[in-house]
């Protein structure tokens, strides 16, 4: 004999006609003997009908106007900082289904790598930076030479990439992990390279730690938002990022550039890759420490992206258990 609790679990299935014949029979038999369930079922049925009858809410002219003003204003902000050659909001002409790489969808105001003597030398680029929306300290904004790499750091905003998958990986796979390669290279050319090039041969590059800290926070925030838009639990990635950033806190502020949700040795985990200064990955791979721009370069020309050099890339790569935020691999 069916009990009330069992019968109530079957209300929707009954109303949607999804009960198997035997179950339907038992369900109906219960209703005959249970007026409470019968009444509740009638109410549920009436409720569903009332829900289907609810009118769609139409936006008023004013509400619609507000929605359009708001995105247009954001569009204006974003477009203002884009380089003429990259007016399109996706600088890499991202096709549907392609991995996201560099989005010129926003403006970077933080030229993180610069030398103090360069400040104030060029009024035009100061203005361009002042129009940006990240609120960074203008006095620290690079305003010097108009060479290509500088223009790029002023005109783009780096957006980290987040991938949600159920791919099963193990520690052995991590040694040859290269999914973050393109992203690391993009971050390197936009953030670290300029400083390395500007450094005197006998001195270490100069970094603006405050600006890097802000960029690190922004990248982490973008990553969390991206995870949310993929339907992932944003708080899990946030906590994983916190673990990783805390573990790397004794180094320069490294930048989260890539995160991939995987199943690591049977458990949900996030692979998080941080971008840091390193030998120019486009010239081959190095084994640099965070301050290791001067480290010897291994690999060589013509090996860009090849499997041979991937294992040798500097590993600011972490796998974090998504349940208790233990770092499983680094």
């Amino acid at each position: 004999m069916m009990r009330c609790k069992q019968a109530r679990r079957l209300f929707s299935a009954h109303l949607d006609g999804e009960l198997a014949a035997g179950q339907e029979e038992q369900f109906r038999a219960h209703l005959v003997t249970c007026p409470e369930c019968k009444t509740l079922l009638e109410k549920v049925s009436g409720t569903i009908a009332a829900l289907r009858d609810l009118p769609e809410q139409a936006l008023s002219k004013e509400e619609r106007g507000q929605i359009h003003r708001s995105w247009r204003s954001k569009w204006k902000d974003l477009s203002r900082g884009a380089q003429p050659a990259s007016r399109g909001l996706a600088r890499t002409a991202t096709a549907l289904g392609a991995a996201m790489i560099l989005g010129a969808a926003a403006v970077i105001s933080l030229s993180v790598l610069h030398h103090p003597q360069e400040v104030g030398e060029n009024a035009a680029s100061t203005e361009a930076a002042a129009e940006s929306d990240t609120g960074s300290d203008r006095s620290k904004t690079y305003t010097g030479h108009q060479d290509l790499s500088t223009s790029l750091t002023l005109g783009e905003r780096l957006l980290p990439q987040v991938v949600s998958s159920t791919r099963a990986v193990g520690a052995a796979d991590m040694e040859g992990y290269g999914a973050d390669y393109a992203q690391k290279q993009s971050f390197y050319s936009a953030v670290w390279q300029h400083s390395a090039e500007k450094a005197r041969p006998d001195a270490a590059p100069v970094y603006d730690l405050e600006a890097l800290g802000k960029l690190q926070a922004q990248c982490a925030e973008d990553m969390v938002e991206a995870a949310e838009s993929l339907g992932e639990d944003a708080s899990v990635l946030r906590n994983a990022l916190n673990s990783v950033l805390a573990a790397s806190a004794d180094q320069l502020p490294l930048l989260p550039c890539w995160a991939e949700k995987v199943v690591f040795e049977g458990k949900a985990a996030w692979i998080i890759s941080l971008s840091g200064p390193q030998p120019d990955v486009s010239q081959g791979a190095g084994t640099g420490t965070p301050q290791g721009a001067e480290q010897p370069v291994e690999g060589g020309e013509g090996l860009v992206g090849s499997k041979e050099i991937l294992p040798a890339l500097p590993r600011y790569l972490f796998v974090v258990n998504a349940l208790d935020f233990q770092i499983l691999f680094r």
Partner: protein, 196 residues
Amino acid sequence: MENSLNLGGGLTDEALIRGFLDGSADCFEELVRKHENQVFNLAYRVLGNRSDAADACQETFVLLLRKLHTFRGESSFSTWLYRVSLNVCRDHLRKQKKHPAPLPPPEEGPRPEDTLEAGVAFDPEAIFEQVETKDMVQSAIAQLPPRFKEVIYLHDIRGFNYAEVADILSVAIGTVKSRLNRARIRLAQELGDREP
């Protein structure tokens, strides 16, 4: 379920997204126009009032501007947009929980006579009852936990099937079924309590 086929001579969602990625504001505007009612209605049912729903709708499209390039086309754009909108609504609810706002002023709904179906004689009492019932249903929905509101909206109001709801909410179909059953019973009980 709203799809992205070219039904009215306009561009498909996919074509509009490609146009947007090539820098066309017109394409983005068209995308907003196509989906603004969908986003607003979802937000209205989840957040419970027009003012918050309009805010969430604005936030969704601003977020879309920044994040559309991450859309991979693995599900339909409409499904993806529902996910993004739901996340914006959930953020709103979290903020409200932390900093409860004073109750919004009573909303100006449509006039009763405007809700009259064509060809039906004007019967003020019947119309009043109809409007009252709809208000009562909406106010009962507002009392539900967010996860119940979401599933009720998507399945019973918007008419998505179980698989589609599961896809939007990123949960298993079994979860959708059991959640919907509990949501319907809870709502029926809420409405029962309100009956005069």
